[in-house]
């Protein structure tokens, strides 16, 4: 007998845990305990991925579940099939989810272009992890104080998972 489908909340939590392993950012960065963004990016991104292949997302989450407890880098390498020249649909979905978190755009799973992504929302654009990783801010949008350019950028400490932090 198959197990019952996970509840919506646990599936969302699972998606956040998966996303943390794939992006290197802590779950608290991806899913702040108090998140005023409406809708929260985690929900927006899961919905976006589901629209492009809910069954593939389910398969990816199931594969992630079997890897729990392993180092994040191992999980990411396995799910992305980094040594496979013809990655599976779940690996391609994982790649698109990484791009979604980093640049706020959905790239079709079969896309190899850097320019055919679609920005999924204004909040996705300003919430892209690429800005944080670069210690910069989106063009036209900054949460930093006036004159911030005269000081070192904010530290990345506290935003990365322990694996990533250890790797500098």
């Amino acid at each position: 007998m198959s197990s019952p489908p996970p509840s919506a909340t646990s599936r969302l939590e699972q998606f956040v845990a998966l996303s943390s392993a794939l992006t290197g950012f802590t779950p608290d960065v991806l899913s702040p305990p108090l998140d005023p963004t409406d809708p929260p990016l985690k929900q927006l991104y899961l919905d976006t991925a589901d629209r492009h292949g809910e069954a593939t997302v389910d398969a990816l989450l199931a594969a992630f579940d079997t890897l729990r407890g392993q180092p994040a880098q191992t999980i990411a390498n396995t799910l992305l099939e980094v040594d496979n020249p013809t990655p599976s649909a779940t690996a391609l979905m994982a790649r698109s989810i990484i791009k979604l978190w980093y640049v706020g755009s959905w790239y079709d799973t079969t896309s190899t272009s850097a320019t055919d992504g679609t920005v999924v929302s204004m909040n996705a654009y300003i919430g892209g992890l690429a800005w944080v990783a670069m210690q910069a801010h989106p063009m036209g949008y900054s949460e930093l104080k006036f004159g911030y350019w005269n000081a070192p950028p904010p530290a990345l400490s506290g935003t990365l998972s322990s694996d990533e932090a250890n790797h500098g």
Binding site: P33, L34, D35, T37, M122, K145, F146
Partner: protein, 479 residues
């Protein structure tokens, strides 16, 4: 543990009271919870006791009729959710509104023998605070002592009677008149009688004293200070207020009968002269009604300040109400009968407040609708607290003008940080966007960095030295 839990834990050392609310009339905020109240000077700590005695106790973190401005938000929940905290901040906002609009006696002090609106309308606490026009003076002159009458231009001198206020006007004159362009430089706000809305900004004594002590009222003083501003935070443990700013919007009341629905004042309305457009200097006495009320309070729990925004209930319909056709007969800034009026559009130039704007033979009136982008939980929280506050105020006097004001929402930081730290980042405000239709009329919406967000906008404020001014644009007015 987040900062809100932390601040809540500190407050837990304060007075505890168990408040069981079993009756109706609290907008669904029923149940039996543990309520915390900080004993503060005056009757703040007595409010719960009084309410219990009266059998009308609000829910935990609820609204009370008290003349004490809350020193900080009260967070009774152990592990609060976003919805819990919005509830707490909205209750804080109404408690602040009630305390700031508490009646004052002839000496300007709080009159504890009265309650707000007991006699319909009343002079208020905040109207005795220091207007920005008396703080940032030509040449960087020191401000007068707290409580001094407003500093008037020569044309107005001798015209101001005790108890009257001084409002500046829309115009090109920079510096001390700039609050007259509050709807954000994109144009004035004109009511349904064709009159310009007036604006003022005032600060409490805590903020005024710090500006004076640190000489932040002048460019020279700011250069000597040579550091980011860091205003005092309200502290629930001590009951002390933090720095508070209030922005108020007023509309002229041409028809005396309209006054019954507003908090009113008699004001000297000053229009400075201008060359382009050519505007004649004037100073006239007008009866005005309060239409917008926006308070910022810096506290330990919210060092990015708590931003509470209220409006008169007759101001504008929402976009949804317009679409559904569920409109009232009239509004302060919307004409239901006008089918071809363009909404949220700035008035045609030239803008001369001494004259009504005539377009195709008709007096121009702003056609404003609320672009309501609040998440549902914020809408629900505001509605529940408005109902609760209205019931409390109507119990004092069903004809109280204060029942005609509503909270739009409260913006607060979800990641507040430490008050002692200058130059805090914006703290990820909730709700993400918030606009008052009288104060941010033309920048409503949900475009990041473009649409109105109190904290995100004020996060960019700096002094004349380019150092952070701690979420206030007032300090850039220093001369």
């Amino acid at each position: 543990m987040n900062a809100h839990e932390d601040s809540s834990r500190h407050r837990r050392a304060a007075l505890f009271a168990v408040v069981c609310v079993l009756g109706a009339g609290t907008g669904g905020l029923t149940g039996c919870k543990q309520a915390e109240r900080v004993p503060t000077p005056g009757s703040g700590g007595d409010a719960v006791t009084e309410a219990l005695d009266a059998g009308s106790a609000p829910d935990a973190g609820g609204i009370t009729l008290s003349p004490t401005i809350p020193p900080d938000v009260d967070v009774p929940q152990g592990n609060p959710t976003l919805a819990d905290l919005q509830h707490d901040f909205d209750a804080y906002s109404w408690n602040t509104f009630i305390a700031m609009n508490w009646p004052v006696g002839a000496d300007g002090g709080v009159d504890t023998s009265q309650k707000p609106g007991q006699h319909g309308d009343n002079p208020t606490v905040w109207e005795g605070w220091m207007p920005s026009t008396s703080i940032f003076l030509p040449g960087g002159a020191p401000p007068p002592a707290w409580g001094a009458p407003p500093i008037l231009p020569p044309i107005c001198q001798g015209k101001l009677q005790p108890g009257e206020k001084f409002l500046t006007q829309v115009g090109k004159t920079p510096g001390l008149l700039s609050e007259s362009v509050q709807p954000f430089d994109t144009g004035p706000l004109i009511d349904q009688q064709g009159n310009y809305t007036r604006f003022e900004i005032l600060v409490n004594k805590v903020m005024f004293d710090q500006i004076v002590a640190q000489q932040l009222y002048s460019k020279a003083g700011q250069q000597r200070f040579n550091a980011p501003a860091n205003f005092k935070c309200g502290n629930a443990s001590t009951g002390e207020q933090g720095a508070i700013m209030v922005k108020a919007a007023w509309k002229p009341l041409e028809n005396p009968a309209d006054a019954a629905r507003f908090h009113t004042a008699t004001a000297l309305v000053y229009t400075p002269a201008s060359e382009n457009p050519r505007i004649q200097e004037s100073c006239t006495k007008q009866r005005v009604g309060l239409v917008g009320f926006h308070v910022g309070h810096k506290t330990q729990g919210a060092p990015q300040w708590i931003w509470s925004t209220f409006e008169h209930v007759d101001n504008v319909p929402t976009e949804e109400q317009v679409r559904a056709g569920t409109l009232e007969a009239s509004y302060n800034y919307y004409d239901p009968a006008c089918k071809d009026c363009v909404v949220n559009k700035t008035p045609p130039r030239p803008w001369d407040p001494n004259k009504k704007i005539i377009v195709n033979g008709k007096v121009f009136k702003s056609q404003i609708v609320r672009v309501d982008v609040r998440p549902q939980l914020m809408k629900d929280s505001a509605r529940i607290h408005n109902e609760e506050a209205r019931a409390l105020l109507a119990a004092v006097n069903p004809a109280s003008v204060w029942t005609n004001y509503e909270l739009i929402s409260t913006q607060w930081p979800t990641q507040p940080g430490d008050c002692a730290t200058a130059e805090l980042q914006d703290g990820s405000p909730a709700p993400q966007f918030l606009a008052n239709s009288t104060l941010e009329t033309y920048i409503q919406g949900k475009v990041p960095n473009v649409s109105s967000s109190c904290i995100r906008c004020h996060n960019n404020a700096a002094m004349t030295t380019a150092k952070s001014s701690d979420f206030t644009y007032l300090l850039e007015r220093a001369q």
